[in-house]
């Protein structure tokens, strides 16, 4: 599903550099990425999603070489194939929770907003325990509720690749298990692939593979 080779990335004006010689994730695999803050875990997810483009090397997701796509191509690819749960939720203040969940369908012609999609959005919200909150605005929700709304938005288009950046970081233990179950079920139901950045070592046994980013970056490999 994911193939990265000879990747080099650096932010302009920064000493930080991400170097990945080889990295592969099989389809349907659930990979946890761990490592200290500032080690480049979020940068890796952004490169996989095509939000950032590498200075060198190739990033391949499925059959598509993301690093070869132009700006518009990367955006189309991202919205159609990748569900991204951002670290700081990235919900829009002026949209209700339901509209935030449906947001990807409103900003691209690649996804079609139908009654079935709406029903599915409400179903997902119920599963996440935020059915009562769908008419509220993000400002009225707790951090955990916002996180769950962001996960609903990522899962709704049934993406083949789910990238989760600290998806359970703001959740209490019971919700953490519940949300992770939902993420894993979604991966299983749609034969999707999950790459999740986490600091929660209790959750690591549930993943197929754990990638320690510090050793990985230094060339030891996973």
């Amino acid at each position: 599903m994911i193939n990265i080779s000879n990747l080099q990335f650096d932010y302009p004006g920064s000493e930080f550099r991400l170097s990945v010689s080889e990295f592969a994730v099989a389809s349907g695999e659930k990979v946890a990425v761990v490592g200290p803050s500032g080690s480049g875990k979020t940068t890796l997810l952004n490169l996989l999603a095509g939000i950032l483009t590498p200075g060198q090397g190739r990033v391949r997701v499925g059959e598509v070489d993301v690093s070869d796509l132009g700006d518009a191509g990367r955006r189309d690819f991202r919205i159609s194939n990748i569900g991204f749960v951002f670290q700081d939720f990235e919900l829009l203040d002026y949209l209700s929770i339901l509209d935030n969940i449906l947001h990807p369908y409103r900003i691209t012609g690649a996804l079609k907003l139908t009654g079935e999609v709406r029903q599915r959005a409400l179903h997902l919200a119920r599963q996440m325990g935020i059915a009562e909150q769908v008419k509220k605005y993000p400002g009225e929700l707790s951090q955990g509720e916002k996180q769950r709304a962001a996960i609903c938005r990522a899962l709704l288009p049934k993406p083949s690749l789910i990238l989760a950046d600290e998806a359970t970081g703001n959740l209490d233990p019971s919700n953490k298990t519940r949300i992770l179950d939902l993420l894993f079920n979604s991966v299983k139901d749609h034969n999707a692939t999950l790459v999740a950045v986490t600091h929660d070592h209790e959750l690591l046994p549930r993943f197929d593979r754990v990638l320690d980013f510090q050793s990985f970056q230094s060339g030891d490999g996973p």
Binding site: I51, R75, R78, S80, F84, D93, Y94, P104, I107, T108
Partner: protein
Amino acid sequence: MIESLYLAWQYIRFNKIKTVILVASITLIAVLPLALEILLSESERQLLDRAESTPLLVGAKGSSLDLAMNSLYFDDEVPEPISMAAVERIHDTDLALPIPLYVRFQARGLPIVGTTFDYFDFRNLKIAQGHSLTMLGDCVLGAKAAARLGVGPGDNLVSSPENLFDLAGVYPLKMKVVGVLAPNHSADDLAVFVDIKTAWVIQGLGHGHEDITRTRDSTVVLKRSEGNVVANAKLFHYTEITEENLDGFHFHGDTSIYPVTAVITVPHDEKSGTLLRGRYLESEDAQQIILPAEVIDGLLQNIFLIRNVLDAVIALVGLATVLVILLVFALSLRLRQREIQIIFKLGCRKAMIGRMLLAEILIVLLVSGVLCSAVLGVVDVNAEELVRRLFVG
């Protein structure tokens, strides 16, 4: 585009205060010049209609504008009076119908127009309530004057003293309201009409008091000589004309020297009008004859000059406002960088972001347009009244 509009609408709804300020600014800057245009056009129409329906005006030499404004719109700038002989002069030519006007006094802020029945026929004024003037001291009110003063047939109306501190001045006259005119949509609607003789009574040229030749109170008699009785200041003057004291009212001297402010002159035909105008060409003539339409046209030229200046000011203010609005949009875009980044991260194309911002601008412009149309509609419907209050007085 529907999704863009939906998202734009959600943004606008969420940011109500910002949107209201933006809409209000755009609406104001659009409404101001357009409303001014409506009001100026209406004022032009009103001024010209009235002037064009008044063929000629005879008055004292001096400001033709004061003469026209006082005679047509009952402006409180009173021109020098001429005598009633001017009416006779026109009448004797057999070229036109003279209608005297004496517009000098006021009753509770409204002009008292002293005239004759011919004026009502000439202006096609119809009685809506009550009846026309029948005796000295009667008055008939214009439709809006009656509404503003809250009086109708059977009520009384007192003329206002010209000068509060004029101790030697005449007493205010208590007039009887006998009728209310149907709306005429002109200055007549806000006037109090009296017979010209009643206007003279208000001025003190005609008065009423007990008959001192028959009085039994000798203390009011200052001097009694053969066929002549002189009263002193104790003699009581009537301040109201009633059927009982009507006979006590009289005018001293020849009424042909009594004042009028103007004579509306309605020539029998165009040739008569031209001939009549020729008779007032002599430089030593103390009277002038004017074509009100020409005078008002000159006034309008000045108004249009002022309008050009106003238009320029509004254009500059408009330009400044548009620049400020552009700045607001630019700053708003900067403030919304995070939101734009979120949409970008989700995979939205730049064109879609552009469409959403465009949709927001369109909605704001549309709402402003609707508001602007509504305000202009209200201005248009009320233009006649507004113009009368703002420009004509």
